[in-house]
Symmetry: C2
Subunit: 630 residues, 2 copies
């Protein structure tokens, strides 16, 4: 078959692909992950590329508004290769994959820091150094019994087992090390397993990873199990995104021939790249990493474990399993020690996954005496209300707007994202970007500030329409409707204006309405008033900043005392990290997941009315937001 050479000039990469290949696939083959949150459907408009030379076929009829189409700019996913090509990829089309340590590390503070100090530091991997008595004719018990006898006093009578592979040469290991060995012991669902025997005393060298596996973002942290220190953090875009932006499109894709393979490889690539990156950074041998603890939503877990997820998207929405047995990491495909384990935080149901259970662990909701609310704003919005007596959880179809997805200039909370915004009375905009880089787009917390400020300055109406009569140079007609320019091209890092459009505002309004009305629905279900809630934790991928005041102002969060609120960042990652550092914390997740009642909003009378009433800034019933004055 005829092959064409595709050269991606600004990436110094070229790749040979057969006639008929689309450019999105060609870029993926070259190792360049493009933004494609619609999964290559041609609807999100993120995978723009510039054809410098060569022949293509492109279906322009289906395109959304593409600035500069006349100059050879096309959507990679809709463009078919018909000759050798030279292609330029604009920066904003590439899914950046950068070191974002501040993103998660900064969140070892507040309630998270308090909670991390609470659990006994007995990590998921326990290394015990043994100086065994040498066998004699009068004491010639087997090598393994000798070890078990020596360990018994220290492992509280938990049953100990080990794999056959560890036994094949145990007699040599013991004798070559003069009966001085370190037993590497893993904690697995209440039992103990000796993963390995290492010659000599290796107790000072012990590492593990905590992972949050999100639909759009994967975050990993390398933990030193001896000191408990976080040695590094990496955030990456979930590579599955090219096959679908949300869990539903991925489940559909998993059912196509080879689909599951691709999705599974993508997420494993994410995880293994983060592992490789961090162990190289810290000059650690993968053989000294014996555990990965990961939390994620139900679909992510099924795809990671290659378990058929088809039933998750069909009524009555049943996952194959929600609590996962501890597995050998290599069996799953995770590249730590071949003897290492992979442990997954259990979830409740299709809509309340291990990420939420992990968050409940992180903020302590399930142990609190007082009524506590956890709101996790990620690709969807999950809400859990309760205390140590009971818990009720629900999931709102909020969509990924607050993760920056589906918006014309939306982006993740990574370097270059506008995260804080202030607007002067004369419509001058000041903003702050993550890592202080020139702006590339707007992340969730930036949109919240932006909407709040635009409302205050009259740039948008209470029903979310851009006010075309302000006379500001920032407000102008766009191809579809109106838009507000947050940053003009010369100020940006992408050479294009960064804007917010009517459609973006509509999108965010629906998201905030879904979350707010879900909170109210749960409260109504259990007959509680928001004033009875003593603590509200907000979690989500907003970076390290979220303005609660502004969130209330736009009607995303209920209008209660500001001291009730605490923003806790990525609580899914924090819970996984706590479980790495302490078995007691991991045990708590096993109690949590069985104790949450799930509330299905779609079958809840009154929920739709609540939702409709919330499609307004801050709310149709302004009496609910007494502190908001427009």
């Amino acid at each position: 078959m005829q092959e064409f050479k595709i050269t991606f000039t600004d990436h110094d990469k070229s790749v040979a692909v057969p006639h008929g290949t689309d450019l999105l696939s060609a870029a993926t083959k070259a190792g360049i992950i493009l933004n494609a949150s619609c999964g290559g459907e041609g609807t999100c408009g993120k995978c723009l590329v510039n054809i410098t030379s060569g022949k293509i076929k492109t279906d322009s009829s289906r395109f959304i508004n593409i600035p500069g189409r006349e100059k050879g700019i096309v959507l990679a996913c809709q463009t078919i290769v018909e000759s050798d090509l030279v292609v330029e990829i604009p920066k904003e089309s590439v899914a950046t994959h950068e070191h974002m340590s501040h993103w998660a590390e900064d969140f070892a503070k507040g309630v998270i820091l308090q909670r991390e100090g609470l659990f006994k530091p007995v990590p998921i991997i326990n290394k015990i150094y043994l100086e065994l008595s040498k066998p004699t004719v009068d004491d010639n018990t087997s090598d393994m019994d000798r070890i078990i006898d020596a360990l018994k006093i220290r492992v509280n009578g938990l049953r100990l087992s080990t794999r056959l592979a560890n036994l094949k040469h145990l007699s040599e290991v013991l004798r070559e090390s003069d009966f001085k060995v370190t037993a590497v012991i893993a904690y697995k669902e209440g039992a103990m397993e000796i993963l390995s025997f290492e010659p000599g005393d290796t107790t000072a060298i012990s590492f593990a990873f905590a992972f949050d596996i999100g639909t759009t973002t994967v975050v990993g942290q390398l933990i030193d199990l001896v000191s408990g220190a976080i040695l590094g953090t990496r955030i990456a875009f979930n590579k599955q995104s090219v096959y679908g932006a949300d869990v539903i499109t991925r489940i559909v894709f998993a059912d196509e021939p080879g689909g599951m393979e691709k999705l599974n490889s993508a997420i494993l690539d994410n995880i293994n790249e983060i592992i490789e990156d961090l162990i190289n950074l810290c000059k650690i041998n993968a053989g000294n990493v014996y555990a990965v603890v990961a939390s994620g939503n139900m679909t992510m877990m099924h795809l990671l474990l290659k378990i058929d997820p088809a039933e998750i998207r069909k009524a009555p929405y049943v996952p194959t399993l929600s609590a996962f047995p501890t597995m050998n990491a290599r069996e799953v495909g995770i590249n730590i020690s071949p003897k290492g384990i992979a442990t997954f935080i259990p979830g409740v149901s299709t809509y309340i996954g291990g990420d939420i259970v992990s968050g409940i662990l992180a903020c302590g909701l399930a142990e609190n005496e007082e009524l506590t609310l956890l709101i996790d704003i990620g690709t969807n919005g999950e809400i859990v209300l309760g205390n140590r007596e009971w818990m009720m959880g629900s999931a709102a179809s909020a969509g990924p707007a607050f993760e920056g997805s589906g918006l014309s200039c939306g982006m993740k909370a990574v370097s270059g994202a506008i995260q804080k915004v202030a607007i002067d009375p004369n419509m001058d905009v000041r903003f702050e970007t993550i890592a202080g880089s020139p702006p590339k787009g707007i992340c969730g917390s930036g949109y919240i500030d932006l909407l709040c400020q635009m409302l205050k300055r009259g740039a948008i109406s209470k029903d979310g329409k851009i006010n075309r009569d302000t006379g500001s140079r920032r407000i102008r007609k766009s191809e579809n409707n109106y838009e507000f320019v947050v940053a003009f091209a010369p100020e940006t890092g992408i050479g294009r204006d960064i804007v917010i459009q009517d459609d973006d505002i509509e999108n965010i309004k629906r998201s905030k309405a879904a979350i707010y009305s879900a909170i109210i629905a749960i409260l109504n279900k259990v007959g509680k008033n928001i004033s009875e809630v003593k603590k509200i934790y907000i979690a989500g991928g907003f970076g390290n900043y979220l303005n609660i005041e502004n969130s209330i102002f736009i009607g995303l969060l209920p209008d209660v005392g500001r001291n009730v609120y605490e923003f806790i960042g990525n609580s899914s990652l924090a819970g996984a990290r706590m479980s790495v550092r302490s078995r007691d914390a991991l045990d708590v997740t096993n109690e949590i997941y069985r104790n949450i009642t799930y509330l299905d909003l779609s079958s809840e009378a009154g929920y739709m009315d609540e939702y409709m009433a919330a499609l307004f800034f801050p709310h149709t019933d302004i009496g609910r937001f007494p502190s908001v004055r427009l």
Copy 2:
């Protein structure tokens, strides 16, 4: 390299081997297992073959007495191929491998039968049929939780786990079977694991194997777990025998390049051939066999699991492990269901293996109130004394004489073996063979009868020399010394006289002295008299018959009331079978192995004196055998 074709005419087999190959290896390659109890050292004289044509090189100087050497008869192990050859193999040179159901099945009697009825019939594999409620929006717990919830009431709160592989398509399995499935649950060291989910109700189809893995013999039984019935039994010579007759030579061989591989393959071949043979016989699908429970001595277990056995033969004789975690059968190399388990009866130390622990389970010694003695006469003699309060065990270096090994006409207790002997005053011999076949040799029980009768008729003296002055035509000079003809060539199935020689008697005398003196040494150690022992169980590969009276007469067993004795046959197999049929029985073995004290005879003062005094028929101190009148 030049290859020669070796044709084994009476087996219709031929094989190509390189110049320099020995004929024992050539026969093995052709799938013909020759008797070679010395491991190819040229000392046992069992692997006789007849060279019909071709050129060989043979080292006759090292040969033991070979009848018919002048006619082209040579030892296969000492004969090097130097051209194409045509070879005949006499029947008695071939390790027979036959259906010997009577050997083990007949022993579901006496104490064994009683014990088998004692344990609750909850087999190691438990199939539970579930008609699950179908998920609804109000009851959308995960598939796995639905199953665990349904099982909970029936598995007594034991923790349940399963392998990842079972989960990949669980959602399909459940839905295609309309939520009617059978969970196949295995019992593993106090925990439970779901091995498989089978659509529909398959509880009526459930099988497992019990195995006794002996140094010289491997016996397997196929058990129907629904009825508990023994569906078939197979006995085979341990194929490792060609690499060494005893455990020591095999441990040495394991250390040679490729040695462990060969030994491991040999025993796995044995096991897998027995499995294949029995499932074919009973028309059973291997996929319906989910468990193998095996018992064997420490060396056999290490070689089966490919665990380095080197330390077993070096002081202080330490095995790598004596209690074995339950494993996946395929991981070990055993061909039952890929999801099936292999469980091994735990042993105590190098000298008291799982075969003895299994025997203790079978006869109930560890549960008895009264003082009980178990004597297992196999390749060595193991002795355990005790009751439910305490146990002491020891191993006597008895050698394999009672298994028919190392004797001029010795053979296993298989078809054609002389197992009962009577001698008239006029020296006429009457005998009975196993399966009534023409005699091929003499097995252990036959030798005991023979010695007893020869002593009574004055054919041998009390110190074990053949009396050359009886005038009987049966007593004649042999090449080495004197011999007694038990069966003349025309009466036999091998066309040669079956004899007992002075050297054979000396060999048996040492064996019986080692066993008797070990019994006395243990009694002395704990300050007990043999009269305080209320029950003595004799186990071993004697076939289904052992004359206790005659065993006492030759001084093998202490002279106490005959009703104290019970011959229980292959108790290692019986214990494995009990453990297949009942988890409670398996649990007992885990209690037994920790509670036995091992007595090392070599460091025991007075043992050598006891042994020397026992080198006489019945004993130097005739006062110890009051009922024996010569």
